[in-house]
Symmetry: C2
Subunit: 307 residues, 2 copies
């Protein structure tokens, strides 16, 4: 699967993933009103608003970026109707040719991780036929439980040509509380990074592995070290834009050939229509603003990589 | 919320939580056949089988145990129909007076954890009205992202009288890979345990806190140490029975008054009808076998605590 993602990155020239993390505040009033009228001012109406909002963005970016990353928490917040929108979003993105990274951060004991892996990346067999729960292309995985919790995902990656990104060093301010603590003189995240590299050798797909890593743009120096520790891992980099990461922070996450990393932006793209930088779209042109913001981000990364 | 759980533990005399982690293999053929005939031999039919299976168990145990712990992965594996069964199960258990611990092991950056917390423990406001996504009483939380990822759950606990159990030392064989690594001479899980104790002081409810900890029955010596480090944290103990933990392993997790811990068993109870120990229920008496197994487990823990 990582080779498919790389193909799309090369074809679009944009190592960018758009975080589809909707909030009601991001949805223009008129769009919200229509959805509430149709489905009610309730969870169903809010989930419909997320769906219309996502569709608008997807329709305007699918030809210029390789991938999207819906954060399932935003959908889970709305219960079942929200998760129905999550599923429809995954399906629609795949129809449009986008690679879908389910940002689910799951991870549990082996038998339980197996169920998560089957539900999100694999399939389940009922009466001899196979069925798919959510069917993303990639999922994010939490490493706290060790190999037991990660291996079932790797098995599904190998069986169904899918991929994962394992949390190594997250973008949030308190990520250091445990991740930075020194073990044998080196921070925990480096030890996790070493495991990611090892796990990855079990699922190679070209020069890179289907087992990638999450490393926050907000910690560029750690990105540099981790790039070296995990030569076969693609790095998914959150934290660009709204969380504070900039283009020049990103250079260290990439390999010399400009591959090896894909940078996520959520609010900075999907809520661009509300920001001062894109005032011309302030009358609710969600999609146009998202496209403009994605192109600006592409140029920012390009120029940083060229420097 | 922890005081409500303790009341129910005292009233039933059973520091036991039944893990509602259904698998199609656990569902008797006749029950499965009926569900498949009604809903199709597909995700909907399998989800219906989980629902009928859960109901049978709940109806036979609700008066003798204080709590249940549905593992959401088992439901997520079946996609949307599975999650509808998860939601119905949570509702039905609460109607029956059971405390529901959603075993969701979520955890993310702050703004994202806020969405998980709202969806599982809290509520979401739409047009001035509040709606609830899944509405469990407790949720399990992964600490890898540090305080940012945990605090939004604590805020919701305080606002809505709910609780969480933070993963400290998990029951699986590879849990030591990262959790046992030494930091300043002490394993990571002790450092996480110290944070749990600190976080817990922000949500006290009687002698214990709404912020509990998950510590596997498979590591009794570590349970003893962690019991001391987290005097205000209730300990949720998985790994009893099928995973290898026994009654006498559990003593160290409890305080001297017999409180302070609640022990989970999943397969050992819900699939008891398939085990040699409960042959008299082998013709598909799921509920009766579950009740017998729960009573046996209660006696096992009682005798261990008395010894």
């Amino acid at each position: 699967m990582i080779s498919k993602l790389i193909d799309r990155i090369v074809n679009t020239g944009a190592p960018i993933v758009v975080g589809l993390d909707p909030k009601l505040d991001f949805v223009p009033e008129e769009m919200k009103k229509k959805c509430f009228e149709e489905k009610g001012e309730n969870l169903e109406g809010a989930a419909e608003a997320f769906w219309q909002f996502n569709k608008e963005i997807i329709d305007h970016i699918y030809d210029i970026v390789p991938a999207v990353k819906p954060q399932i928490a935003m959908y889970e917040e709305l219960g079942i109707p929200g998760l129905i929108t999550f599923k429809k979003t995954v399906e629609y993105c795949k129809e449009k040719g986008l690679i879908v990274i389910g940002d689910i951060k799951r991870g549990d004991i082996g038998s339980t991780s197996l169920s998560y892996a089957a539900g999100h990346l694999g399939s389940v067999t009922i009466g001899g036929k196979t069925f798919k729960g959510f069917d993303e292309d990639f999922a994010t995985v939490n490493p706290y439980l060790g190999s037991d919790g990660v291996k079932p995902f790797i098995d599904v990656c190998n069986k169904e040509d899918k991929g994962i990104f394992v949390l190594v060093k997250t973008s949030n301010p308190s990520s250091g509380e445990f991740q930075d603590r020194l073990i044998d003189g080196r921070p925990l995240y480096e030890h996790v990074g070493e495991q990611v590299e090892k796990w990855g050798l079990e699922s190679m797909d070209g020069s890179y592995s289907n087992v990638g890593a999450v490393v926050g743009a907000t910690y560029p120096e750690m990105g540099r070290v981790l790039r070296g520790i995990m030569p076969h891992a693609y790095i998914l980099v959150p934290g660009y834009g709204a969380q504070g990461g900039t283009g020049k922070d990103l250079v260290h996450f990439f390999d010399k050939d400009g591959l090896g990393a894909i940078v996520n932006s959520s609010r900075g793209i999907i809520a661009a229509w509300k920001s001062d930088a894109y005032k011309e779209f302030a009358d609710g042109k969600v999609g146009e603003a998202a496209r403009a913001a994605a192109l600006t981000m592409k140029a920012d990364i390009e120029s940083a990589l060229r420097a």
